[in-house]
């Protein structure tokens, strides 16, 4: 049953160990530090891709399992990791975005040692959350990925707001995770030991066992919302979203990429595997109401994005809007909607990382992000402009790109209604309301494209217009190609996602 080779462990621990080694390197060796970070993230990405392609989809379930290796035996904490159709997609997303993030950060010359060390710790934490099958391990990695964020934003962020944003982000996420942790402890104590095959009075954090723990309905009902919304803070669920635009804007480019591209999915993923998978009975009762919150995300986020003057805030609020679609996909509680939600996580991860890298490239040269001050950049940066346009088209759900495939399935999920056959008359109305988020997205994307890339070009205004380097080009081209390939051949990811969401639908269907 156990994996003969510790692939997953290596994926997580190579960046963690490399981060520690970087801290020991002499700080003058900036180039060596960057190369190390690039090589390490590349190795993890390749390993993740290797698992992705060798995973047996016909068999499904968790594969490449390692453990459980007892860690704190008296408390039932063990080291247990595994990969299924959902988290594998998240692992390759993390691999791609983290490697690209290092390439984008090549220009960081201010204390590169600490920057890349924290960046690698962050990446290790993110990988860890996605593969954990033990609740304690999951929380452990979750916190591990929040703290580097604080230092990365506060030290290397936008000087105007970085202290405020870093503090706000950390407090929000911390409070959310503590609330979720309390809920998870309640689950831990109320699980039926005998049903899980343990001695009476013995407890475990092993999620595979907890899933059989017959959690009493009263406990499920009481703790579902704290757990779901506690993690949901990181997914930007309204009204707990307002750390996110501030955090995105203040963060340095690579951190924004990781943050919006991967970290926000951490919240959605954790909410799915804990709140939904461990408390399915309560999920069936509460998700149809949580959908109201996320509808506000989708429409209000897009409307706010439309009136922003700061380029980076536009992207920040667009993430709030798009992450709303992910949770909306969860709330449909059926196969097609969940498939759409997971694909939306991947697709949004790629496109938002692309957006933030574009914003970063322009800001590094113009030192302004005010949309009215920019203009005509397609003349100077054709590749940057085209990449942004394709990303923008993907975000407004243009067919032929990955965003369409994801959003199409989420809306199909809304029409279909929950898999258990319950009928909620507001689901079709939600679909009709939420589709306006798509139209608003088209409006704000076109507004940015018209002004920033096609407006009037004033070559005398800018003094520091160095061309983008080869690494930047590679990043943009890779992201763009991924959006196109997934859009034209959704089967690349959909078969995998389908095998991962099927068990969840089974849980929610009964």
């Amino acid at each position: 049953m156990n994996s003969p080779f510790p692939f997953l462990t290596l994926i997580t621990f190579i960046p963690a160990v490399a981060g520690a080694i970087i801290l020991l390197m002499p700080k003058e060796r900036g180039q060596l530090i960057k190369v190390t970070a690039a090589v390490v993230t590349f190795i993890s990405a390749v390993l993740a891709l290797f698992i992705f392609f060798t995973y047996d989809q016909t068999k499904g379930g968790y594969q490449f399992i390692e453990g459980p290796y007892p860690w704190v035996q008296s408390l039932g904490i063990s080291y247990l990791v595994g990969a299924d159709g959902i988290n594998l997609v998240m692992l390759i997303l993390t691999g791609i975005v983290s490697f690209m993030g290092v390439l984008i950060s090549w220009g960081i010359n201010e204390r590169p040692k600490e920057f890349f060390a924290f960046f690698l710790f962050l990446v290790a934490g993110v990988y860890g959350v996605f593969m954990s099958l033990d609740l304690f391990l999951l929380i452990f990695f979750y916190e591990l990925s929040i703290f580097p964020m604080y230092f990365l934003i506060a030290n290397w962020g936008w000087p105007v707001t970085r202290e405020y944003a870093a503090m706000k982000l950390t407090l929000y996420l911390l409070i959310g995770s503590i609330v979720a942790l309390i809920g998870l402890l309640a689950v831990y104590f109320s699980a039926d030991s005998v049903a899980m095959g343990l001695q009476p009075g013995e407890h475990t954090f092993n999620m595979l066992k907890l899933a059989q723990g017959n959690i009493p309905l009263a406990v499920q009902r009481f703790w579902f919302l704290p757990i779901f919304l506690g993690f949901g803070v990181l997914a930007g669920i309204w009204p707990f979203h307002n750390w996110s635009p501030d955090g995105h804007v203040a963060a340095p480019t690579a951190v924004s990429m990781i943050h919006a591209g991967v970290l926000m999915k951490l919240g959605a993923y954790a909410a799915l595997v804990t709140a939904v998978k461990l408390l399915p009975d309560a999920a069936k009762e509460f998700l149809p109401f949580i959908i109201f919150l996320v509808t506000i995300n989708v429409v209000y986020g897009a409307a706010i994005a439309m009136v922003q003057k700061d380029f980076k805030y536009v992207i920040g609020f667009s993430s709030v809007s798009h992450m709303g679609l992910v949770t909306m996909g969860f709330a449909t509680m059926n196969q097609v909607g969940l498939n759409g939600a997971v694909l939306q996580m991947f697709s949004h991860g790629i496109m938002t990382a692309l957006f933030f890298s574009v914003v970063g490239m322009i800001y590094d040269r113009t030192h302004t992000r005010q949309i009215p001050e920019l203009g005509g950049f397609i003349k100077f940066f054709p590749i940057v402009g085209i990449a942004f346009i394709i990303g923008g088209l993907a975000s407004m759900g243009m067919p032929g790109l990955s965003g369409f495939v994801a959003e199409l399935q989420i809306f199909m999920g809304l029409w279909s209604g929950p898999a258990n056959g319950a009928i909620y008359p507001w689901y079709p109305i939600i679909a009709i309301l939420a589709i306006w988020g798509v139209v608003l997205t088209a409006a704000y994307v076109l507004r940015v494209v018209q002004q920033v890339f096609f407006g009037d070009w004033d070559p005398h205004k800018w003094h520091d217009l160095r061309p983008i380097n080869l690494g930047d080009k590679f990043v943009l081209v890779t992201f763009t190609l991924i959006l196109i390939v997934v859009g034209l051949f959704p089967g690349v990811l959909m078969n995998m996602i389908n095998s991962g969401t099927a068990p969840v639908v089974k849980l929610l269907g009964g």
């Binding site: 067919p399 008359p425 076109l446 018209q450 096609f454 959909m494």
Partner: protein
């Protein structure tokens, strides 16, 4: 050869997209790029003509489509790559295949970012051809939306002064319509056994009963009917959803306007014939009166609006809405016939839709020619203000001849393409909507007035010496003549002997009406 025969439709639809990618990488300068794009688009044209020749002998599937391909594409949502053609889509594919190389010829004057321009132009062709070939609703929607993007950039980047406003309006209008259509597509998918296949949906819809989301099936059908209708009405455009069009046309580059008026507007009308009428015959019959009144309003009001324009291109743009009004009138007559069992009404409806499809083809030719001719003057005079032009026949006699020829086809002079089309629409709609059809004749009269106004203001009257002094009003050149000649030949061919086209169209229309 077998490979071409077996995949003919797929080759036609995707060849322009492949050529578009090639355009981005072939290592030549602007001039070479233009010739390359011309040759590429002619390959697609040759394939469409080959399709046209092969069509009568090809075997058809039970639903009446030929050259059908049905391959798996997205099994999780049960959507397949299902394409095929019948007489109506064949005519439209032929039209697209003919107009694209002519648009590229007209674009030989473009000097700014030629490579991207031509690539977008070819991508646009794939989008349009794909809509006409699709038999799966998701595939249909994908191509429908894909055509939007290149057109947006053609207007936004290569357009004239107010291009940003116009392109934005065009995009958001169409997008707002198409999201409604997407929701309707999904409702049908959910209501009818989770399939996107058009034939399957058409077969299943009459049996759809009971309630859905707490609403009776009839209400659901009516909502879906209006969602599709509004999406297509924006594209046609049907009055009062037309306001994006004059702006988009005025700002678009010449070749963009040619394809916009020539093919893109037909996508909406085609949607009515392929989706709205076959899927919702009862609702179509119920609401056909509204459609007919909107068609009448479009015919009369936009003819008046065209008469009031002083911008040559805006005048031609309003004339497009005016002419598409007759297409809608024909569709409304067909819609009304579903409520009747009278064979005479059915026969009239067949005539009306025959006329509508022929009008789509004929207007595609004449509108493309008119926009090309507006472009010829604008490129030389740098103004489209009718008050600044004048007396150009003396300066550009050949241009004058071509303009009069195309304008006459546009206003429906017997012997040219517009006449048999409009005649059939009016003849077919008369027994169904007598009063409305009679009133629409006012529009026909006004058409004569604004077309003559344009001719008079451009060709006759005193020469504007100041304009001649500052600009070089040279005769229409050979590239432009080459682009216009095929259009003129076809306008004459359809006007004198429409049956070479009508035979194919009639077969499919008869099947559609079920008469």
């Amino acid at each position: 050869m077998d490979f071409i025969n077996n995949n003919l439709l797929t080759l036609i639809v995707f060849s322009p997209a492949i050529f578009a990618v090639l355009m981005l990488i072939i290592p030549t300068k602007d001039r070479g790029l233009k010739y390359a794009a011309l040759i590429f688009s002619l390959i697609t044209t040759a394939l469409t003509i080959y399709l046209w020749i092969q069509y009568p002998a090809a075997t058809s599937d039970p639903a009446g489509f030929k050259f059908v391909v049905n391959a798996p594409w997205f099994p999780q949502i049960n959507s397949t790559y299902h394409v095929g053609v019948d007489g109506i889509s064949l005519a439209m594919i032929l039209l697209t295949g003919i107009l694209t190389p002519l648009g590229i010829l007209i674009s030989f004057r473009i000097t700014d970012r030629v490579r991207v321009y031509l690539a977008l132009f070819l991508l646009l062709e794939t989008g349009m051809l794909g809509v006409f070939a699709s038999l799966d609703l998701i595939i249909f929607f994908i191509f429908w939306e894909i055509g939007l993007v290149p057109m947006y950039f053609l207007i936004n980047v290569w357009g004239s002064k107010n291009r940003q406003y116009a392109s934005f309006k065009f995009f958001i209008y169409t997008m707002a319509g198409s999201v409604g259509m997407l929701l309707a597509i999904q409702v049908l998918w959910f209501a009818l056994g989770k399939t996107y296949d058009m034939n399957a949906i058409q077969a299943a819809l009459p049996n759809f009963s009971g309630t859905l989301f707490g609403l009776p099936a009839q209400t659901i059908k009516s909502i879906a009917f209006w969602a599709f209708t509004i999406a297509f009405a924006i594209k046609v455009p049907i009055w009062p959803f037309h306001t994006w069009l004059p702006d988009a046309h005025t700002e678009a580059p010449t070749a963009g306007s040619m394809l916009l008026a020539g093919v893109l507007l037909k996508l909406g009308a085609y949607g009515f014939l392929r989706i709205v009428l076959p899927f919702f015959p009862d609702q179509a019959a119920q609401f056909s009166g509204i459609l007919a009144i909107l068609a009448l309003a479009g015919i009369v009001f936009t003819a008046l609006a065209a008469f009031g324009q002083n911008d040559f291109k805006r005048l031609v743009a309003y004339s497009s809405v005016n002419h598409m009004g007759f297409v809608v009138l024909g569709i409304a007559a067909a819609a009304a016939s579903y409520g009747s069992t009278d064979p005479a009404v059915k026969a009239s409806a067949v005539i009306a839709v025959n006329g509508a499809v022929l009008q789509m083809f004929a207007h595609g030719l004449s509108a493309a020619a008119m926009f090309a001719l507006v472009g010829v003057v604008y490129d030389r005079a740098h103004t489209r203000d009718l008050n600044e032009l004048g007396g150009l026949w003396a300066v550009m006699p050949i241009y004058g001849g071509i303009l009069i020829f195309s304008a006459m086809a546009n206003l429906g002079l017997p012997g040219l393409a517009g006449f048999p089309a409009e005649f059939q629409v009016v003849r077919g709609a008369w027994p169904v909507f007598t009063l409305i059809t009679a009133l629409s004749m006012i529009g026909l009269l006004l058409t004569g007035a604004y077309v003559l106004k344009a001719i008079q203001k451009v060709l006759h009257g005193p020469v504007n010496h100041e304009l001649l002094h500052h600009t070089e009003m040279t005769e229409i050149n050979w590239t432009e003549r080459l682009a216009l000649a095929p259009l003129m030949v076809l306008m004459l061919a359809i006007g004198l002997y429409p049956f070479w086209l009508m035979g194919v169209i009639n077969q499919s229309v008869t099947k559609l009406i079920g008469g």
